[in-house]
Point group: D2
Amino acid sequence: MLFFRNDYGQGCIPEILEQMNQTNMQSHVGYGEDEICMHAKQLIQSKMVDHTVDVHFISGGTLTNQTVIKSMLRPFEAVISCDTGHIATHETGAIEATGHKVITVQNVNGKLTPALIQKSFDEHMLTYEHLVYPKMVYISNATEFGTVYTREELTALHEKCQELGLYLYMDGARLGAALMSGVDYSLNDLAAWCDVFYIGGTKNGALMGEAVVIINDSLKPYFRFCMKQNGAMMAKGWLLGIQFAGLFENDAFYTVAKHANEMAAQIQDALFDLKYPFLMKSDTNQIFPVVNENEYVFLKEKVDFELWENRKEGKVIRFVTSWSTTQEQVDALITLLKQAKELKEE
Amino acid sequence: MLFFRNDYGQGCIPEILEQMNQTNMQSHVGYGEDEICMHAKQLIQSKMVDHTVDVHFISGGTLTNQTVIKSMLRPFEAVISCDTGHIATHETGAIEATGHKVITVQNVNGKLTPALIQKSFDEHMLTYEHLVYPKMVYISNATEFGTVYTREELTALHEKCQELGLYLYMDGARLGAALMSGVDYSLNDLAAWCDVFYIGGTKNGALMGEAVVIINDSLKPYFRFCMKQNGAMMAKGWLLGIQFAGLFENDAFYTVAKHANEMAAQIQDALFDLKYPFLMKSDTNQIFPVVNENEYVFLKEKVDFELWENRKEGKVIRFVTSWSTTQEQVDALITLLKQAKELKEE
Amino acid sequence: MLFFRNDYGQGCIPEILEQMNQTNMQSHVGYGEDEICMHAKQLIQSKMVDHTVDVHFISGGTLTNQTVIKSMLRPFEAVISCDTGHIATHETGAIEATGHKVITVQNVNGKLTPALIQKSFDEHMLTYEHLVYPKMVYISNATEFGTVYTREELTALHEKCQELGLYLYMDGARLGAALMSGVDYSLNDLAAWCDVFYIGGTKNGALMGEAVVIINDSLKPYFRFCMKQNGAMMAKGWLLGIQFAGLFENDAFYTVAKHANEMAAQIQDALFDLKYPFLMKSDTNQIFPVVNENEYVFLKEKVDFELWENRKEGKVIRFVTSWSTTQEQVDALITLLKQAKELKEE
Amino acid sequence: MLFFRNDYGQGCIPEILEQMNQTNMQSHVGYGEDEICMHAKQLIQSKMVDHTVDVHFISGGTLTNQTVIKSMLRPFEAVISCDTGHIATHETGAIEATGHKVITVQNVNGKLTPALIQKSFDEHMLTYEHLVYPKMVYISNATEFGTVYTREELTALHEKCQELGLYLYMDGARLGAALMSGVDYSLNDLAAWCDVFYIGGTKNGALMGEAVVIINDSLKPYFRFCMKQNGAMMAKGWLLGIQFAGLFENDAFYTVAKHANEMAAQIQDALFDLKYPFLMKSDTNQIFPVVNENEYVFLKEKVDFELWENRKEGKVIRFVTSWSTTQEQVDALITLLKQAKELKEE
């Protein structure tokens, strides 16, 4: 069965596994204070002009979002997210579990805009202390719909946050895919725009792990206390160091994401040629075609993918590519998509 | 200046104050275990066929909502509310502060419907454990817009909650106004439909206090632990007993609410005759006319009221009546409303 | 039956009740932003050289401790208390419910000392981020045992806290009793030593209410958001203003506490003369004699008091006096204590 | 440098690494619902007569304790632990962060006893709702001091918990070491005595991972919601399945623990022969000798170990062995210990 279910369905890129094999019997200090972690942090810091950013490794995305947000907000402060934001949906209320409200506003192609932030902020200032205080803006890049923020959009968000005194936090679970989608910005630019962001490893070739990058000095102190309290400090912490050393030593982080995007683009192009409708055009490794019942049943037998949403115009499904997707798999999928289309015409 | 700002702007009805004066030097056990509280609880229980309901007194609405919801939900469980529900707005994230998500759905005249609940429930079952589990439905009656649930609406909500295994919790901050709005149901009916509800004292003639009524047996145990932990157990607890004894001994609870509704109805009728537009027709003691800038400025000088919302068709303002509103005040307000209307025509 | 159970068993001092009667029909802004609250705050501020302290009124002690501590600590920060501290015992885990650990150290006559703080702090620094970070010191004055901190003890605690970067927070549920016990310090001194403290109304003649005084500028912002989120902002907030206006307009706060202390001293002197043993010598309005079984049974029939602890040397009981205790009641208690002692000798 | 710092300082046993290599390119469902996890769960279930126990895999110990305790307690309920319990110390207040108090009682050789539990329970029942309600007992086995509960001790704890209606939860971070220390009980017995326990992988040869075993039916439902909300559900969940399949397929779990215990026993015997004093005699893989300053300085240069505590009789240090400790390392350590002792005599 062809696997296009998600980008975290296989192990890790060979260089990471190789490193795990080679270092398996070495002794390390625990809790992420080892030399491999130090090395991996420096690799990430070296991508930015400001080498003083703090870098921390956490095993997964929900744990990362929870730790970052809990660490940075006072009890009555809230985070603005669009309604499709991961923290607003698929984290089982993890943010609320830390005591903070997630203020949701309706997304525009999976994105937040300065105007939406301003409107929400204004509404909250109206009756002031009877409402939560919006203090952080949460965005995902790439978004949950596979779209990507442009340089102009990010600078505008940055300026709006500065104007209103809000922290800008970027969830980079699929940051590699965003950076490799043809945008004209880099990790260094993100460090200039965001107060905090994280670089996703789990969905970009690592066994696990997200790298939190804290730029705002006032948010740096005592972050490790928050990690430990939240169960987000691994005993064998160097394992996370290995993941990010593997991703950044030879820029596998980028090549892997580029590969996934290219595989997805081929599928999207084919879908377009075959005249499948889309939920939204994607710039990255997730694509969302709409199929009819016949097509769905046909594909479901031969391909592992996710049903995203039932709409009256059809079933929105999701194909995801990753570091492990091969040209053969893509070709096979495209062949099946053609067959599905012909099937329909019978 | 005429006071139509809210229904909690003056002290309390005379019978309560009288009782406070008379009992001031008496000695009582603390924390609500005194005889006055027992008496007040029995008065409330006597309104229902099922005398085994638990009754607890808490000093205010936010504290009540917080204590009830925290007591009854497991960590990953959430409460469905309409977007205008008090817990979703004017409680500064008090529910999220206890760790629970408030799932908001768009209101219909300030109300929730079985269809909205079903839709939200279904959405949450789709990806199951990656989303919170909706376990409670929160409604306000009267609503934040002054509207009132009908008998049919409440039985339908009750049935939907039973079907889906949800607790039905009614916030009765303005329950007196609802019950005196001409509906064909009583406290006894509410006990049959709800798992928990509270009877508002603060906004219906008491100095403070809400009476929580727990009907569902499984929700009764250890509620006082939750109260104490939440800071919701008053040292001089009999003061809350006095409030509810005063409201229920001679049914002041009802006469006071009836009075407020009648005063509001006169204002609403006058507004209608004067051709002021409305946000929504109210059945209770809050009314929401829309005024233009000139009218607003004129009225603002002579009347204490709240600006509810700026809309492009004008300013939505709110007039609230209460137990302390007099016929003279209503007459004076109507006169001013006439003058404002004439003013406009100049 | 004679009442010596506690200092919150009757209503309030006449001047407060009088004020409630007089203002009952006046209209006020809600949530503590009215003129009576402003006036009461100024009365309290006027007791200090630094008039810029923030004053907030909250209805009870647990709610106050919870709101203050939650407002001031980051998630991983903890508060050091002695094991007999109210937050460590009789608040049903209210502080832990806000996410913060209460670090307990063994009391010395109900008190904390700089040495105990230093020891606890050092232990926590040892493995650092694997333990909570102690950031606040909590003391009660008068203590739960009726003892009082001296000027020397408080300045030493202040200096230790300054040295270690800890906030000093004083729970003043019985602060009146402490200040009237013969100490050579005042509210103004407390403002110099503490970062935050509260002045107890509930146990010193008010119907309810504690006045939080925030001295440390960095702890002032947004406190009202925390109050509201915690259910600690009363709708009819001026009622709390009336309590503190009543207590401070003519210094009833002090005369009332002095009276209670004097009544207690008479009882303690009599107990001493009658050769009853004590748990601890008290300087304030709570006294803790040890009685045998016969004495206990005899007294229990005629006096309402609390059993504090069963020890092998006898039953520790607690007599508490208050603003409402009369000379006649004290005389009657002393007579009973004599009879109990004679009884024993039969 | 010799490594005796802890039992989580190297990677994992070869069979686990091998399995990771072999399955790296296989596709799996995420979040622990894959076939490898199912297989690993069955291996664990097969160790018990009752095959209906629920098994869940979580990446680390703090996250496990937090998830289990939060899932099982109501807000006002607390967990009794001895003062040396991991949750009471080295988890940065992780349990309090979920809102629950950890009630600490003084340990007896690192252990809890039925008498200590009864005493704490009784104290809490005295003033009832003003104190938290103790509902769970937490024990570590092996303890933080390397001691092990006997069959008699565990059955007595089980009976006491049953009598008082408390859940018994065993933290098995070092359960392998306990079971291989010569005790006459097995995983199956633990399932009969505990409501919940966990089997530690991290400290017994796995890269990471703890296996939660839930026996009490009432505690089973919705546990995965709690995991997800707590950030305790890994995306690539089969990695945890591989750890436990590796530990239980050929009982490496036991052989590895036995090896570590034997290595430790050799060191302990040598220390005894060399007349080093001990903090406590250990039955497992952690040993706590007391060394003087000279010995400490000498050893510190050549061995990586932890300073446990400064006492006036000397420095308590900790040597820990693990699956990766070799006979050569033990011999080398013993030689150094001899030299240190001779050094002293100079």
